[in-house]
């Protein structure tokens, strides 16, 4: 299992955002994508997710992916637990209900599980989206600005979650402009 970029270039709206990006992530590896606003961090994550074709180069990934973007994709009129269960039931891993309960615990959201998603605050909604990632049990995590809107306590929880994911043989590719502690992570500067 691996996630590899070979000389990947990205063109958006007729403009070359980046080119010649290469990296290789093996189980347990992590990488942070850094760079100024508008340089293409989110596009790189979307290319890794297979949602955008690379303009040049090749991307290879042979495992299930979990994607966190700005859009939480949680149904706003349903309760948090029901919204998470919907996605968990579409994942490949078995026991969706148990995975959701564990993910809610990991992000300290158990008390909010019966609240409709639309009533959650920005930070709580972000934590809920991270819970969707944790519940997926996909080996490759693609996180676009996961720390946005999180308080320091939740950032620490996110770091612990990524560390545990890597310790279990997972891969994490994280685009962030906020400092996130991920020991031994490669840095991909755009």
């Amino acid at each position: 299992m691996s996630l590899a970029f070979r000389d990947v270039a990205c063109v958006r709206g007729g403009r070359m955002l980046f080119s010649g990006v290469s990296f290789d992530l093996a189980p347990g590896d992590a990488a942070t994508v850094t760079g100024p606003n508008g340089i293409g961090k989110s596009s790189l994550i979307r290319i890794a997710a297979g949602l955008l074709p690379p303009f040049e180069g090749a991307v290879s990934c042979d495992a299930d992916k979990a994607l966190l973007t700005e859009a939480s994709a949680l149904d706003s009129d349903r309760t948090l637990v029901a919204a998470l269960r919907f996605w968990a039931s579409l994942d490949r891993a078995p026991n969706p209900d148990a995975r959701v309960v564990q993910a809610l615990q990991a992000l300290d959201l158990e008390a909010l599980d019966g609240i409709p998603v639309r009533l959650l605050s920005t930070g709580q909604r972000r934590r809920a989206a991270i819970a969707r990632i944790a519940a997926s049990e996909a080996p490759v995590w693609l996180l676009d600005e996961p720390a946005n809107g999180l308080d320091t306590h939740s950032v620490a929880r996110l770091e612990a979650l990524i560390a545990r994911h890597r310790a279990g043989g997972g891969i994490a590719l994280v685009a962030t402009h906020l400092p996130l502690s991920m020991p031994g992570a490669q840095e991909i500067g755009l």
């Binding site: 997710a49 297979g50 992916k65 973007t69 859009a71 149904d75 706003s76 919907f86 579409l90 490949r92």
Partner: protein
């Protein structure tokens, strides 16, 4: 696939989508007697066509909510990352949309037939036509919704996109009301509806993928 249909269906029922469509349909159907006057013979003559026109306009109502909100919320991104075929996702959307508006519309047509003084015979033909035609309308609605999803002010454009394409359904649907040519019109209605249902998932999927870019 079933989970998707269930989610969409629950969403459209809880947001009052079906009530809105039925209410609008009945309102349009009652506008005609007001505009034309209480001439029972005339109303009975044009009533079937009125029901078809009202059904077409009512089908237009939920178009804006079918694809756009899910696109903005990143739902299609998540489905694509999980390796779901976009055409299957679009097919699920069509099934869910039809369930939320087809059967309620057919029930409301009974009420509308009463308002317009249609005979039981005509009502039966209207219902058969609606049963065959509404899946095509649902498919068309999902395609239109996907096509205008990325466009600002797409709601205004959707009528211009959808109504011309729905004209064959209207012609053969209303044509089936004439006892003489009923059988042929029903067959052509079924052919148009089938064509729309079969082609729509692929067109909608391509439009959704383009809008995701």
């Amino acid at each position: 696939m079933i989970a998707l249909v269930r989610r969409d269906l629950r969403h459209s029922l809880s947001s009052g989508g079906a009530t809105l469509v039925v209410g609008f349909f009945l309102l349009v159907a009652t506008l005609f007697p007001f505009a034309i006057g209480p001439d029972a013979a005339l109303l009975a003559k044009i009533g079937g066509g009125v029901i078809w026109t009202a059904a077409l306009l009512a089908a237009l109502l939920p178009v804006e909510r079918l694809i756009g909100p899910d696109l903005d919320a990143g739902v299609f991104d998540q489905l694509a990352v999980r390796g779901r075929s976009m055409a299957l996702v679009a097919a699920a959307k069509i099934v869910a949309h039809w369930l939320s508006f087809g059967p309620p519309l057919m029930l409301a047509a009974i009420v509308a037939a009463g308002l317009l003084g249609l005979s039981g015979d005509t009502l039966l033909r209207v219902e058969i036509g609606l049963a065959i035609g509404t899946p095509g309308l649902a498919a068309l609605a999902v395609v239109t919704s996907a096509l205008v999803a990325g466009v600002r002010g797409g709601g205004a454009v959707s009528g211009l996109v959808m109504l011309p394409l729905a004209v064959p359904l209207l012609i053969f649907g209303a044509g089936s009301l004439d006892p003489a040519g009923s059988a042929g019109a029903i067959k052509l209605l079924a052919a148009v509806s089938l064509l729309l249902v079969a082609g729509a998932p692929f067109v909608a999927a391509a439009a959704i993928r383009a809008a995701m870019d």
